[in-house]
Symmetry: C2
Subunit: 165 residues, 2 copies
DNA sequence: TCGATATATTTTAAGCTTAAAATATATCGA
DNA sequence: TCGATATATTTTAAGCTTAAAATATATCGA
């Protein structure tokens, strides 16, 4: 008796594009949610997503983050943070200083004003996410969380073997 | 005997931020993969992600897509597609025409050259995704796919109730 | 101690992205 | 038929993003 060409056939389509489809759906979900958030942040707080992301990163590091640390955390280029940080400095949401002993390095952190504004925005942000993902059961949330961790680990393993930082 | 304050306590942390954490992980995974793909597309084909995305959308519609249809499919603004399409036209990857009877509307589709180039790039793209997500089991892939569909449905339901297109 | 090398950041040039206004064409309804 | 309204797209102004080059400072090793 011949073996079936595709042993996993019962689980669904078996044309070898399952991972590609998964990636496309991941991307689509992200874009969908990002679009919602962008519009709401703009309407309610007149702030962009990239600026909020910087404030959120700094909120987790009250002692401050370097430009490079911020860039790695947000997974954006170094030159990128330069510009966004510049605007947030001008608006008084963050402050910047050199650590003693290294004049190349800059640290940035939230100002009091920035912390106050971030706290308000973060509360709204969480409420929006709760609303948008409200259709998922507690169990689904935790399953997704675990599976995405697995996906992340897979990508990071390949990333290293490829030689990029 | 008092009821526990958080009935689902056994499933993990119960501070009400599970959905937020899930969203942050989703975003992180997406950025991680996007960064890999961007670098590889650039190195191997000297093309940007947005341009590839347009070609991929057109590949699925050999009869052509309107500017608006493309914009909705890619979840980007209308003005955005104008620019990317312009560059692809100049490079000869796509062609554009008015449908008979409506001079407001433009259709675009791949040229032969565009189709040829897309086919090569799509093969590489699929191989990269297969590699990056290679650490996931077949079952995990299909679970993720199903859960992300659920997430997407949840967001789309809220989107409608909020009044945005 | 001082040239070579490494590290941290900014600058540059090009392209991507958005929201809102502007333009052009089509359709609807008296 | 023709003004009002709707639809499809482009333009505009501002900001975001990248990769690579440039700048500035620190560290290493003879």
């Amino acid at each position: 008796m011949p073996m079936p060409a595709y042993p996993e056939t019962s689980a669904g389509l078996r044309d070898g594009k399952e991972k590609l489809r998964l990636w496309l759906k991941l991307l689509d979900c992200t874009h969908l949610i990002e679009r919602q958030l962008r519009g709401r942040f703009r309407a309610d707080f007149d702030i962009t997503l990239p600026r909020f992301d910087v404030l959120a990163a700094l909120d987790r590091f009250p002692e401050g983050l370097t430009m490079g640390g911020l860039s790695r955390r947000l997974r954006v280029s170094q030159g990128n943070v330069t510009g966004v940080v510049e605007r947030l400095l001008k608006e008084g949401e963050i402050r910047r200083w050199n650590p003693p002993g290294d004049r190349r390095t800059f640290y940035i952190a939230l100002t009091e004003q920035g912390q106050r504004n971030f706290d308000r925005m973060a509360a709204a942000h969480q409420a929006w996410i709760d609303e948008l993902l409200g259709g998922l059961a507690v169990q689904e949330i935790s399953q997704l969380q675990a599976l995405l961790s697995r996906a992340k680990a897979s990508v990071e393993a390949k990333e290293k073997s490829h030689g990029d930082a």
